[in-house]
């Protein structure tokens, strides 16, 4: 992998070819997917991009700043409901997308600060538990804010949400280009792709900046970071706000894409899945996070084929695939984490954190357990 990369860097022409290939692959992805796997997978492809945006957002909080946040799905919910309430018959409001997108980022970012502020003194496990509580609070609020005034329509959720529409082009409908039919999943794919690339760009730029270094410093040693003049409070809140705003954007896209939101979509399991994506992919490393999002979104779907597979192998379905599916999924996670404890594509810095010094480890081994006894 590294050999290929360094070779690419050395040869400009090769680099351009690689870029071109990537662009070609990304633009034709929905067609390839439909041809290879069927139309339902184009929808899954859209979800892959949505989860990529979410995972990249959480990566800022957990991967860069080292703040373990288990309530991240709360910001996803805020973004989704903001879009749902302001672009649906529920209140009779139909605000345009170009207004709702930045609004979602802003309001979710605000919630990030709001929820981040009381947790600033907490670290590690304690922070995780408090953020977990916050995520649940948001869900419970959404579930119960249908009385006395019906704000969120409670457990029934909000229906008939406007599809995204820009300059009269509705992403919700079927479009015909060059005699080819494009269903809405195709249009959304390209929209999500653009926004995902934007979020990747922002993540890369942030990582390699004064702010990114301050986040890394806080993750490494908060006391030393403070003693170096970093305003740890503000810098941590900034991480919460940035991460939350990415979550808010993906939430809005999710609401428009689904046309329906309910509190159920934003349970703890979602937060855990997003966290799994970045841990399994490689915390703090953008490529790793992307890989994690791809794997953890597609794997559960792919495992649905366990039923047909059993039929093919044994002639009948022995174990109900819906039961087997999550079992195999869990097993796959465990196996990956055993063999790649720092994730599939770890960031170089994170890898160092997890690797014990060979000499030191050996020394400890020798002093703690006397080998002669």
């Amino acid at each position: 992998m590294n050999a290929i990369l360094s070779k690419l860097r050395a040869d400009r022409r090769l680099l351009w070819i690689a870029y071109l290939g990537l662009v070609l692959l990304l633009t034709t992805m929905p067609f390839l997917t439909e041809m290879g796997l069927g139309r339902s997978w184009v929808r899954i492809l859209d979800f892959v991009l949505l989860y990529m945006m979410l995972a990249l957002g959480l990566n800022i909080v957990v991967g860069y700043a080292g703040l373990l946040d288990l309530g991240y799905v709360g910001f996803y919910a805020v973004g989704a409901y903001l879009y749902a309430l302001l672009a649906s018959p529920h209140f009779g409001l139909h605000l345009p997308f170009w207004l709702l997108l930045p609004m979602g980022a802003l309001i979710a970012g605000l919630f990030g600060v709001l929820l981040g502020a009381p947790t600033l003194r907490l670290r590690g496990d304690y922070l995780a538990i408090v953020t977990l509580g916050f995520g649940e609070i948001i869900r419970v609020f959404l579930n119960n804010l249908n009385a006395p005034i019906n704000l969120t329509n409670g457990p029934q959720g909000v229906n008939l949400i406007d599809p995204i529409s820009v300059n009269g082009f509705s992403f919700g409908g079927m479009h015909q280009v060059f005699g080819l039919n494009f269903p809405s999943t195709y249009s959304y794919y390209y929209l999500f792709l653009v926004l995902t690339l934007l979020i990747i760009f922002v993540s890369i730029r942030l990582e390699d900046s004064r702010i990114g270094r301050a986040w890394a410093a806080i993750r490494e040693d908060e006391v030393a970071a403070e003693a170096m003049g970093i305003r740890t409070r503000n810098v941590k809140l900034l991480a919460f706000a940035m991460g939350a705003s990415f979550g808010g954007v993906s939430g809005g896209l999710f609401a428009a894409f689904q046309g329906f939101v309910s509190p159920e979509s934003f349970n703890l399991m979602e937060s855990v899945m997003i966290l799994c994506m970045i841990v399994l992919g490689g915390m703090g490393n953008i490529a790793g996070v992307i890989l994690g999002a791809v794997l953890l979104t597609t794997l559960p779907e792919a495992l649905r084929y366990l039923g047909p597979l059993q039929e093919f192998l044994f002639g009948e379905v022995l174990v109900d695939p819906s039961n087997l599916r999550m079992l195999v999924f869990g097993l796959a996670l465990i196996i990956i984490m055993i063999f790649r404890p720092a994730g599939l594509l770890p960031s170089s810095r994170r890898k160092r954190e997890l690797q014990p010094e060979p000499e030191v480890a050996a020394q400890e081994q020798a002093t703690v357990y006397d080998s002669k006894r």
Binding site: F201, V202, R205, L206, S209, R210, I211, G212, R213, A214, A216, A217, E220, D221, V223, A224, A225, E226, A227, M228, G229, I230, R231, T232, L238, M242, R349, R350, R352, E353, E357
Partner: protein, 261 residues
């Protein structure tokens, strides 16, 4: 402040007291450091030296007393605020950003003197690019200054002990301090490293940075310090030029015990 003093001291601590539960870690400690001097702080283990450091640099709150630094009352201020005023420190048990490179560590030290925010980071406009280039340049200069330019890309935790201490000094210098407080910079160094550390401290001072030094190595303290204060059981028992402190019976008693008559 006495009328005769022509310049106000850079740091002035008055009647500092700090208790942990029932234990008085510091009792009524007063001292002042003048601009341009190397001020030593010695005392037996547990005398309260590091506690005093932590109080001065904002890691601990005082129970009573006042600290004034360069005309600012820094009591109760957050550490990052105190650094902004120009008072930086190192730690007794080295606190580098262990998994970052030496260069990155020093670059973090520039944080407090630079401005770029999120917008600058994303747009990477000319202002931000210039600032980043300046950060990098200064960080390299500082690594060379403390003598570890060759280890710029080494992960901090892979550096030798002495180099880690030097890196910590470089990182603090990156914050452009007027006063640099060093907590046992020679700990764990061998004789050659100590000798070159003494040279480094002199160089830092001659570049206009005042130094406050906690140190156990008596030779180093006596060699480089202009004035020395001695702490014992949280109280200041002596303060003078090294040669006088060295002969002070109370100091000798504190270190060696009272003569059994």
């Amino acid at each position: 402040m006495t009328v005769s003093a022509s310049v106000a001291p850079l740091l002035k601590a008055e009647n500092i007291s700090k208790n942990f539960g029932g234990i008085a870690a510091l009792t009524d400690v007063s001292f002042s450091i003048n601009s341009g001097e190397i001020y030593g702080l010695i005392g037996p283990n547990g005398a309260g030296k590091t506690t005093l450091f932590n109080v001065l640099t904002g890691l601990y709150l005082t129970d009573s007393g006042k600290v004034n630094f360069a005309g600012h009352d820094i009591n109760g201020l957050k550490p990052h605020h105190i650094v902004e005023f120009g008072f930086a420190r190192t730690f007794q048990n080295i606190r580098l950003f262990a998994n970052m490179t030496a260069l990155e560590n020093v670059m973090v030290g520039r944080h407090v003197r630079t401005r770029a925010g999120v917008i600058g980071a994303i747009l990477r406009n000319a202002g931000t690019r210039n600032e980043e280039a300046a950060i990098l340049r200064r960080a390299k200069e500082l690594l060379a200054y403390v003598g570890i330019a060759g280890r710029a890309d080494t992960i901090a935790k892979h550096l030798s002990y002495g180099d880690q201490r030097r890196l910590e000094i470089a990182r603090s210098l990156a914050t452009e301090p007027k006063l640099l407080a060093l907590d046992e910079p020679a700990a764990g160094m061998n004789l050659t490293e100590r000798a070159s550390l003494a040279g480094l401290l002199q160089a830092i001072r001659s570049d206009g940075v005042t130094l406050l030094l906690i140190e156990h190595d008596v030779k180093l303290v006596m060699g480089v310090c202009d004035r020395v204060a001695v702490l014992e059981y949280g109280k200041k028992i002596a303060e003078d030029v090294p040669a006088v402190v060295q002969r002070d019976p109370r100091v000798i008693e504190a270190y060696l015990g009272a003569p059994t008559a």
